[in-house]
């Protein structure tokens, strides 16, 4: 059994290493069109993971996660333009700082309440930001704001790759492999019991929330520089949050790889629809239907099909039976 576990772990590492090598050489293997799609897939896999930090591990649904993506995007856009003219890399930590402050301001009071209030508060916050960015002059209003163009697809591919890999590494280290993760999951499952174990649930929730917000902000910064032009709808829009929610639910709430699977899968579907039918409202209906179907029929997501314990693990159980049968 132990030998088997070690072999599985080695296979896992080998697979990951192979994946990374493929991802690292990919820009030289495909044309710019597909490179843009790969860049987008990396971004969505990372964003879904950032949403999952709070939604999946701590059990608090954030319906305004696009706010933090947008804060990162607008921070970079404003700071790279006059009168600041900062270099791109310097705007990323600035965006993270702004985002962290906002997350503390919203999360502090509302994370103490039941999840419904938190869902409403985050949703309202994102909408306030859309309205705010729309009516203000310094954000360019509805028209939006441009960034100094930098047309190097490979740069953006690697920027997204580094950000995504870091996001997953941090999630793995903090939520799967540390005391912090135990505390977060404990409070998700039973808050009074977690308190009775000495866990400061209000603080731990806030930490998870800030972490998730800051991660989203990094992708926002890179996205803004990449597309060189942003407006309130394109970075604060509710559709962005909708997509993250569907990706995580589809992939598997609270699992490490679920958001990556769901994120890449849904983004590819999105692009296929876009290629065939253009920008269509039909996609919104598909998103909605996907959420409904996943909640009703696949509550543990795609990752739940493979989970050895927890979840329904239907495939895992079937596989286990096969293996055991073979041993006998």
């Amino acid at each position: 059994m132990a030998a088997h576990a070690i072999r599985t772990r080695w296979l896992g590492f080998l697979f990951l290493a192979a994946m990374l090598v493929v991802l690292a050489v990919l820009p030289w293997a495909i044309n710019n069109y597909w490179l843009r799609i790969a860049t987008g897939a990396l971004m969505w896999a990372g964003l879904a993971c950032s949403w999952n930090m709070l939604g999946g591990y701590a059990g608090y649904i954030n319906f305004g996660h696009s706010a933090f993506f947008g804060l990162g995007a607008y921070s970079s856009a404003l700071l790279m333009n006059d009168p600041f003219g900062l270099p791109f890399l310097a705007t990323i930590p600035a965006g993270m700082a702004v985002t962290a402050l906002c997350a503390v301001a919203i999360g502090g009071p509302t994370l103490r309440l039941r999840g419904a209030y938190f869902a409403i508060a985050t949703w309202a916050f994102a909408e306030v930001l859309i309205q705010f960015a729309t009516v203000m002059d310094f954000t360019g209003g509805t028209g939006g704001i441009g960034l100094p163009p930098f047309l190097n697809e490979r740069f953006f591919y690697f920027a997204m790759l580094v950000a995504a890999v870091l996001t997953y590494l941090v999630t793995w280290a903090l939520f799967e492999r540390s005391r912090f993760g135990l505390k977060v999951k404990a409070l998700r499952d039973h808050e009074p019991a977690a308190e009775a174990m000495g866990i400061n649930t209000a603080l731990v929730k806030l930490q998870a929330f800030v972490l998730s917000a800051v991660a989203a902000s990094v992708f926002g910064s890179i996205f803004a520089y990449w597309v060189t032009f942003i407006n309130p709808k394109s970075v604060f829009g509710g559709d962005i949050t909708d997509q993250m929610v569907v990706m995580v639910l589809l992939g598997g709430l609270g699992s490490l790889w679920g958001p990556a699977i769901g994120g890449v899968a849904l983004f590819v579907v999105n692009r296929l629809i876009w290629m065939n039918w253009g920008d269509t409202a039909f996609y919104i209906a598909i998103l909605g239907a996907a959420i409904v179907l996943v909640v009703l029929f696949l509550p543990n997501g795609i990752a739940g099909l493979f989970a050895r314990r927890g979840g329904n693990g239907a495939l895992a159980k079937a596989a286990e039976k096969l293996v055991r049968g073979g041993e006998r």
Binding site: G115, E127, L253, L287, V295
Partner: protein, 290 residues
Amino acid sequence: MDLFLQTLLNGLLIGGVIATFTIAFQLTFGVLHVIDFAVGGWVVLGGYLGYYMASGLGLDGFLAIPVAFVLFGAIGYLLGPVLYNVRNSRTARPELMALALTFGLFTLLRGGMLTAWGFNTRSVATALSGESLTLGPVTVPLIRVAAALFAAAIACSLFLFLYRTRYGLAIRATAENRNNAALMGVNIRRLSANVYGLYAGITAMAGVLMGAIYSVNPEVGLRYTLFAFFVAVLAGLGSVGGAVVAALLLGVIEAYVSTYVGSSYSLLAIFATLFLVLLISPRGILRRGL
């Protein structure tokens, strides 16, 4: 001064219409323990029903009110048990899943309506459209007065039903304490179906009225979901008594911001108020029991 009074009256009239579906929204939360993101979707669907009955069949828009109640009441009655099952399932995190379900439903309705009807704005034609009523120094559109009267009638019937019938008592008992109600022999599952049906029906009726006063397009659903949340937060989730006051207040705030600051700021003002209330007094400032 006249403008001030007129704005106040306008706001109260709209607030009255908002009150009808937010009361039902609160009731649904009390019984099902789910906040329904799809609330705005039901409003918009009601508006479209009114539009198609008025423009397609040439009937008066107000005739759509009973039809909306029956049609969406039936749809809600069918959806209620689904929501109840998810909310009370044995899977991990049912509260979160139920929230996600209504969010998905809302997105589905919005996307479906956009696909079917596009972004065009429609309004419900009634015999009263374009008429206005002068009361001393103030003049208000007659349609708003009529809508507010309809709304008041709906709200009064709902309150009579809740406080004067045995079934209303069962609903209130369930909203107060689900376990005790179950012990007293209330079939919570069936009650949930009925309450969700009642709520969807009332919300669609309010949608017809809103469609007659303003107009509808698939994107305004968000606005009505916001209204419901605003009232829920100000009144405290599940509180029906505070909902009426909060809805009237919402109507008045919206009217004044639109008149004196500009209508593009009204949503910002409402969201900002909602957000501030959540930060300052998160359990609601008008909290009152059923």
